[in-house]
């Protein structure tokens, strides 16, 4: 019941889950973060895709991330008229460069705009926003 109440209240856009990304989102529900590695050529990729963009192989390995990385760049948003975000201004959007080398778009949380710096070490926090969706966000490393 508590979860249902939370789902009703959550008004930010939710991702569409499908065949190629469901394992990734399900891992997030277990509070685990993965990237993909091609089983044929070894190329790393994020976001999840059904095939390798380098060699087009469908042989996909899932690599579990340490959940640690550094802020590559960020912005503190003071104006966004979209529902869900206009109530939570200001918020920090960032690209985090994972220790595994890939950059992912996310939010910095537990972090003031003054605290946010490029190069700052961060760690993943899992935000269970609905019963089906958990988001990977990042906070300053502790």
């Amino acid at each position: 019941m508590a979860e249902q109440t939370q789902a009703k209240k959550y008004s930010k856009p939710l991702p569409h889950l499908d065949e190629e990304n469901r394992p990734w989102w399900e891992a997030l529900q277990r509070h685990e973060l993965y990237i993909q590695k091609c089983g044929k050529c070894g190329d790393l990729r994020y976001y999840p895709r059904a095939l390798c963009t380098n060699c087009m192989s469908s042989d996909t390995k899932w690599i579990k991330c340490s959940g640690r990385g550094k802020v590559y760049t960020f912005t503190t948003t003071y104006q966004n008229q979209a529902p869900g975000f206009r109530e939570s201004l200001p918020y920090i959007m960032a690209y985090v460069e994972l220790d595994e080398g890939l950059k992912m778009l996310t939010n910095l949380v537990d972090c003031t705009p003054e605290q946010a710096k490029i190069g700052m070490p961060v760690e993943v926090v899992y935000e269970d926003v609905t019963p089906a969706v958990t988001l990977a966000k990042f906070r300053p490393a502790r």
């Binding site: 930010k12 990304n21 948003t77 979209a82 959007m93 890939l102």
Partner: protein, 389 residues
């Protein structure tokens, strides 16, 4: 096979409106087509090619606009890659004419972005066009906006190269100076660097006055063969070369300060057979001040990291060492959601010597570069090099 000087811009028209709450975009587009045909000395009966796209029309809007104007062209192109689309359309029209697919091609845009109250930079879920593509699913939960996407590029540029808010602000100040000499510009009162820095932060480090305005508007171009253009009303402006491409997150491996302009610019220069020193003025898509700075670097007018110095000291003024955006740009003149068409219109007017007080002296070769979409997530770039000789 080189396209250089085989085709020309024969007519241009910028719709004077900046606010048209009771016009449809088709009306604005049709009035723009009429204006560009009048400028060329051609009639609607001569038109057998059409390129258009827009933010206010449906995906098949080009067919609807043919319905409105009772056109049945031999060539249609509705490439939709954001604000740069019309720079790309110009190149596509040139290639189509050179290949014999059509003879006279109109490129047109119209929009009521302001009066329809589109929250272009700070609304919606997706940073780019939509929110339903697979790539959007990993962005929309985190609140991307168009401004935010460009802001992340600015933040990284400042971090890596010490680029300052003052340097970015000077770009906005220069555009406003140019707008003050353009009677049709929406904002014409001069501003200072201090005004830009005192305006509120929309998405750090970008201030309100680092962002383009939102207006209504439209415009059109008439493209035809160089041979035919020489017999028309106005002096032809020849298409020398063009290039286009896209940049995106590159499966998580992107260098975000390398943008589409690096590739589209290189292609355009190679195909035009001209060098950077030959460019007398440029129209650089100024959705945001940072867009101008990184575009100039990526086009190769200065080295990466040197953009801050390059845009400083009045160098971008109409009477400076490297004049850009003499119409006042998207930052001050008009930005009806997309503004690629105005880049080609103003470059053409400069090459014809029609720009009055803001005319660049001895302008023989001009470059137009459009950026579409969102620089920090996914964007397109289209470069065009034009000459009056």
């Amino acid at each position: 096979m080189s396209l250089s000087r085989k085709t020309a811009v024969a007519g241009v028209f910028e719709h004077p409106t900046r606010f048209a709450p009771d016009k449809t975009l088709f009306q604005i587009m049709a009035e723009s087509v009429r204006g560009a045909l009048d400028d060329a000395g051609l009639t609607i009966k001569d038109v057998n090619g059409l390129c258009t796209t827009g933010i206010g029309m449906s995906g098949m809007g080009i067919v609807g606009f043919c319905d409105y104007l009772n056109l049945t062209p031999n060539f249609v192109d509705s490439t939709s890659i954001g604000g740069s689309s019309f720079v790309a359309h110009t190149a596509h029209a040139a290639a189509a004419i050179h290949a014999g697919l059509c003879d006279v091609c109109v490129v047109v845009y119209g929009s009521t972005a302001a009066s329809s109250r589109f929250a272009i930079g700070t609304g919606g879920g997706g940073a780019g066009g939509g929110a339903g593509d697979p790539c959007d699913q990993y962005e929309i939960p985190f609140g991307p906006t168009t401004v935010g996407s460009y802001a992340m590029v600015a933040q990284r540029h400042m971090h890596d190269y010490g680029t300052t808010p003052q340097q970015l602000a000077e770009i906005a100040v220069t555009m406003r100076l140019h707008a003050s000499m353009n009677p049709a510009a929406k904002y014409r009162d001069p501003i200072t660097v201090e005004d830009v820095l005192a305006s509120r932060i929309i998405s750090s480090p970008l201030h309100l006055l680092d962002c383009c305005i939102i207006s209504d508007g439209g415009g059109a171009l008439v493209i035809t063969s160089a041979e035919r253009a020489r017999d028309l009303k106005k002096k032809p402006v020849y298409i020398l070369g063009a290039g286009e491409t896209v940049r995106h997150a590159a499966r998580g491996q992107r260098d975000f300060l390398e943008i589409a302009a690096a590739q589209s610019g290189r292609l355009a220069f190679e195909r035009a057979g001209v060098a950077h020193k030959d460019i007398d003025m440029a129209m650089i898509y100024d959705s945001f001040t940072i867009t101008v700075l990184v575009t100039l670097e990526n086009l190769g007018f200065c080295k990466r990291g040197e953009g801050g110095a390059f845009v400083s000291g009045g160098r971008l003024r109409f009477d400076g060492e490297f004049p850009i955006n003499t119409d006042g740009g998207g930052l001050s003149s008009n930005h009806p959601g997309m503004r690629g068409i105005f880049l080609v219109i103003e470059a053409t007017k400069q090459l014809r010597g029609e720009c009055g007080p803001r005319q660049v002296k001895d302008c023989k070769i001009a470059l137009a570069h459009g950026t579409g979409g969102t620089l920090g997530t996914r964007h397109s770039g289209a470069t065009l090099i034009l000459s009056n000789q």
